[in-house]
């Protein structure tokens, strides 16, 4: 496994993918680029993991895929968020927020004491 980037919290990739596709259909490369640009590479998300997650989410019915022309007119596989996927995104986002908030609560308290 490469470099010093952050280890991803379990399930975070899923939320990122769902979020990326929430504005409209995107192909895998587009999702990868979107996450990379947003996080400036801080997450160090591997494309291998990304694609595996994409296919898993499609199987779960959170994403649908269809082939269409890309911006440079090649055939590309586009992922669209389904309604169940959207619901899952909302739920996961909420969970993640509460989780992170709880973690920081603890971290902040210790800082104050120290």
């Amino acid at each position: 496994m490469p470099d010093s980037s952050l280890e991803l919290v379990q399930g975070t990739v899923d939320v990122l993918i769902l979020k990326a596709t929430s504005w409209g259909p995107l192909h895998g490369f587009g999702i990868s680029r979107w996450i990379r640009e947003r996080t400036e590479g801080a997450l160090g998300l591997q494309d291998a993991a990304l694609y595996q997650a994409l296919h898993r989410l499609e199987r779960k019915g959170w994403l649908e895929s269809d082939w269409g022309p890309s911006e440079n007119n090649r055939r590309a596989k586009y992922y669209t968020l389904t309604s169940t996927g959207r619901a899952a995104l909302r739920e996961r986002t909420g969970n993640l927020r509460r989780y992170v908030a709880a973690v920081f609560e603890v971290l902040d308290a210790r800082t104050a004491a120290g």
């Binding site: 192909h27 895998g28 490369f29 990868s32 680029r33 591997q46 494309d47 291998a48 993991a49 694609y51 595996q52 994409l54 296919h55 898993r56 499609e58 199987r59 890309s70 090649r74 055939r75 590309a76 596989k77």
Partner: protein, 879 residues
């Protein structure tokens, strides 16, 4: 979606290619990005792959996920589609509830009847008997080649055979009647079998409780053991296992119960108890009296053919050794199952065939109905097609309709089958063998499911095919005139239906005619209000004088019972003892004796005074027996007309005599004093045979059947029992019967099968009529515009009526010709399979042809009248 109907999912290869293409796209895009950032092409590509991570693992994981996902989606789609199709089919049917009811009802009747009849035929004919290796068990007969009949073996012959046979183990049973006295002193008669050593082993039956007889129990003085039949054990001893070892009183002496048989032991049918057979010396030599029931089991390494060959060889040797009475006797083996059920096989096979034809007619009918609907809906379907519904989708919809129909019909059919079997068991003739083996079991369910599946295929695939045949442009064509395809298939179907129904009607009609012909025969005696009661008094009265004395006193008592017009007694009465057990050879006085074994034989009946009066047998010449015909006086006989004609053709038999061998081998002279009419002893269909009667007073006998001719219905069994009890309280009547019910019994199986055949034929013709009606309705509605034009051009309504009805009757006519042709072809086979079907009977054929055409006309009348009511203006406007 439609194009995916046949193979809607991706192959492994396709999935792999898609995953590769997706990943390749990613790598190419990333490399291009890097190149734009100043990387060299080679390095950019390498960097993209490095950044990506484990490419191979990703490929594998993605392919696996896609495969699983596809499968799941496939299922979900299939379920959704099916649900859609089912609800579409339901909506479609709701619009035509009559058609739905007719279709489901038709199929359900067909399927239910098929399963029901199968379960009956299966139980009677096909299920193995409840014996060990029951295929190895044979019924053993002697064939009397001169009389041309199978006889029951005589005790002497049985003993000779048993000694010599090596490939067949045989055992015998002798029917017997016994009186059981219970603890309260009440007597009741039981039917018994006296069985020889190893009888149950030969049959292949182990006692349910207790044991078989031991070899030493077949010797005189040690034979006081009894084995109970299952029904007797349940009925009289409450199914108590403790009955083993108990002592019961039979014919006044104590017997020890040693065993109980399992249920379902049907050969020979329905015996209450079984006892060891002890031969007396005279019986060991008895070769002319044929009353033993003999069964055999093939030796371990022997085939039926080998056993039969050995048996024939042995009987050949015995024929030379004892030319009287064995000269014409050949041993014959009949597989036990055939012996029990062979008599009804033809009729049951006919029933199975009939119900099969009904099922075919029902299927054809419903397929026709569905196609008619499809044709009616051509426009609707064509519009759907034009609106983008896949052709496959329409085909599947039609198939789902058919399948749904078949499944519903199968469920209803199951209920019908249950009802049918219950009714059949209730109505079944008592002499139908193996009733207890009839049930709706797994085998019947398989038949039902198979029939249902076949129906589903016929009803699903044919209309689906028709739906698929609609051309794309149909919607934009004229609405009429395009239906030729469905119409002509429909015509073929209707002709087939009518032909099948007619051939079934012909078979049923021929059966019916033969039945009427048969029952028209004069029996030679009256059965009306004749009550029979049989007693066995061998053990009670041993001397001739005692026997005759008992019979005379009993007759006096019976004659005194109010309502009794006449009472008589005989050793065997017509119908009650089917198959003669006494027909010894005789010589004719004054004629040269024939070669040994060539002597004529005749049935002998031992009768009391008044016997001919009591049975209504007409006296043709001479006198009946009188009080002077007793032991010590000249021995006399009364002969039947056939015997008189054969023995003394053209001469007056009165005063002439025949000679028979007496017990001491000397010749006894029997003088003819009278001639009476012939009798059909076994009922309708039996041929009169030479017979003579001897007076009971000169030939005392211990198994007596009293016959009472009652003036009205008031003479009860109880009154007869009481009259006999007044003579001797220890004697129980073993069977009560009436000649009428015995006669009905001989016809019961025929009547049952005839009824079933008529019923099925009726159903078939009804279904064919429904099919014809449906077809003509379609034709009329398709040709409305043409009819309108014809009317407008001045065709009379009568012409139209004739046109439409003529078409229906014409189709039916074609079916009638084919059906009768088929029946004529099958007749020879039918005649061999079913008793009573005789030569081609023109009256039956004509009646059926005319009847069918009338039914066809009636079925055509509705649509024809509708055509006549067409309003020319409105139909032309619609065009």
């Amino acid at each position: 979606m439609g194009s995916r109907f046949w193979w809607p999912w991706r192959s492994r290869g396709e999935i792999a290619r898609e995953v590769d293409e997706e990943l390749e796209f990613h790598l190419a895009m990333r490399a291009a990005e890097l190149e734009r950032a100043g990387w060299g092409p080679e390095e950019a590509r390498q960097e993209a792959e490095r950044e990506f991570g484990d490419l191979d693992a990703t490929r594998r994981v993605c392919q696996a996920d896609d495969g699983m996902g596809d499968r799941r989606r496939r299922w979900r789609d299939a379920v959704l589609d099916l649900r859609g199709d089912l609800s579409a089919a339901w909506r479609g049917w709701r619009r035509t509830p009559v058609a739905l009811t007719v279709a489901v009802g038709t199929l359900a009747v067909g399927i239910g009847a098929a399963a029901g009849v199968f379960s009956i035929v299966d139980g009677v004919l096909f299920k193995p008997l409840p014996y060990r290796q029951s295929a190895q068990v044979m019924a053993v007969y002697q064939f009397e080649s001169r009389k041309g009949i199978l006889e029951r073996p005589s005790p002497g012959n049985f003993l000779d055979w048993r000694e010599r046979l090596t490939r067949l183990r045989i055992a015998a049973a002798e029917p017997y009647g016994m009186t059981l006295t219970d603890a309260t002193g009440t007597n009741s008669a039981l039917s018994a079998f006296l069985v020889t050593d190893g009888y149950f082993g030969v049959l292949g039956v182990d006692p349910l409780v207790g044991r078989d007889f031991r070899p030493d129990e077949f010797t005189p003085g040690r034979h006081r053991q009894v084995i109970l039949g299952h029904a007797t054990w349940l009925g009289r001893f409450g199914g108590d296992r403790g009955v083993i070892g108990r002592t019961i009183t039979l014919d006044g002496s104590p017997h020890q119960v040693v065993g109980v048989l399992p249920p379902g032991i049907e050969y020979p049918a329905g015996r209450d108890i079984y006892l060891p057979k002890v031969f007396d010396p005279e019986e060991r030599e008895a070769r002319a009296r044929t009353y033993f029931r003999v069964v055999g089991r093939l030796a371990r390494d022997a085939t039926a053919d080998q056993a039969a060959a050995e048996f024939a060889q042995i009987t050949g040797a015995l024929a030379r050794q004892y030319p009287v009475p064995n000269a014409n006797v050949v041993g014959r083996l009949v597989p036990l199952a055939d012996d029990i059920s062979g008599r009804v096989r033809g009729g049951l096979v006919l029933m199975l065939l009939a119900v099969g034809l009904v099922v075919v007619v029902a299927m054809v009918n419903v397929a026709g109905l569905l196609m008619t609907r499809a044709a009616h809906r051509r426009t609707e379907l064509a519009v759907r097609l034009a609106l983008g519904a896949g052709r496959a989708r329409l085909t599947r919809l039609a198939a789902v309709e058919g399948f749904g129909l078949a499944v519903t019909a199968s469920v209803v059919g199951w209920l019908i089958a249950r009802g049918a079997v219950a009714v059949a068991l209730w109505m079944a003739p008592a002499d139908l063998p193996r009733l207890s083996a009839i049930e709706l079991d797994l085998r019947s369910v398989l038949v039902l499911a198979g029939t249902g599946l076949l129906t589903a295929i016929v009803c699903g695939v044919l209309p689906a095919h028709a739906a698929a045949m609609i051309p794309d442009t149909e919607a934009f064509r004229r609405r009429s005139g395009g239906g030729r395809g469905a119409g002509s298939t429909g015509r073929v179907l209707v002709v087939v239906e009518v032909a099948l129904a007619v051939s079934l009607l012909v078979a049923a009609g021929l059966l019916g005619r033969s039945f009427l012909k048969l029952t028209d025969q004069d029996l030679g005696y009256s059965t009306d209000r004749r009550v029979l009661a049989t007693v066995h008094v061998w053990d009670r009265y041993r001397s001739p004088g005692q026997l005759v004395g008992f019979a005379e006193r009993a007759l006096e008592e019976l004659a005194a019972v109010p309502g009794v017009r006449r009472a008589a007694v005989a050793n065997a009465l017509p119908l009650s003892a089917v198959g003669s057990e006494m027909d010894p050879p005789f010589l004719v006085e004054g004629q040269a004796p024939p070669l040994p074994g060539q002597e004529p034989t005749a049935r002998v009946t031992i009768v009391s005074l008044d016997y001919f009066d009591a049975l209504g047998i007409p006296l043709v010449a001479g006198r009946p027996f009188d009080r002077g015909d007793v032991l010590g006086n000249r021995r006399v006989i009364v002969v039947g007309e056939t015997l008189a004609r054969r023995v003394w053709p053209g001469l007056d038999p009165i005063g002439r005599a025949i000679q028979v061998r007496g017990r001491d081998s000397g010749l006894v002279r029997l003088e003819v004093v009278g001639v009476v009419g012939d009798t059909r002893f076994a009922g309708h269909g039996d041929r009169p045979v030479p017979e003579y009667y001897v007076p009971l007073a000169q030939r005392p006998f211990g198994s007596l059947t009293f016959v009472v001719h009652a003036a009205g219905p008031a003479v009860t069994f109880a009154a007869i029992q009481a009259a006999i009890a007044r003579v001797d309280g220890s004697i129980a009547v073993s069977t009560f019967e009436t000649l009428d019910s015995l006669l009905a019994g001989t016809l019961a199986t025929r009547r049952f099968i005839l009824g079933a055949a008529l019923g099925f034929a009726g159903v078939a013709i009804l279904l064919a009529a429904v099919g014809l009606y449906g077809l003509l309705s379609l034709v009329v509605s398709q040709r409305l515009p043409e009819i309108g034009v014809r009317l407008a051009l001045g065709a009379s309504r009568t012409n139209l009526l004739a046109l439409i009805a003529g078409q229906g009757v014409g189709l039916a006519g074609l079916g009638v010709i084919l059906g009768i042709g088929g029946a004529i072809l099958a007749r020879r086979w039918l005649a061999t399979q079913v008793w009573g079907i005789e030569a081609t009977d023109p009256i039956t054929f004509v009646a059926i042809a005319v009847g069918t055409l009338l039914v066809a006309f009636a079925a055509s009348a509705g649509p024809a009248i509708r055509a006549g009511r067409v309003d020319p203006v409105s139909t032309l406007k619609r065009e």
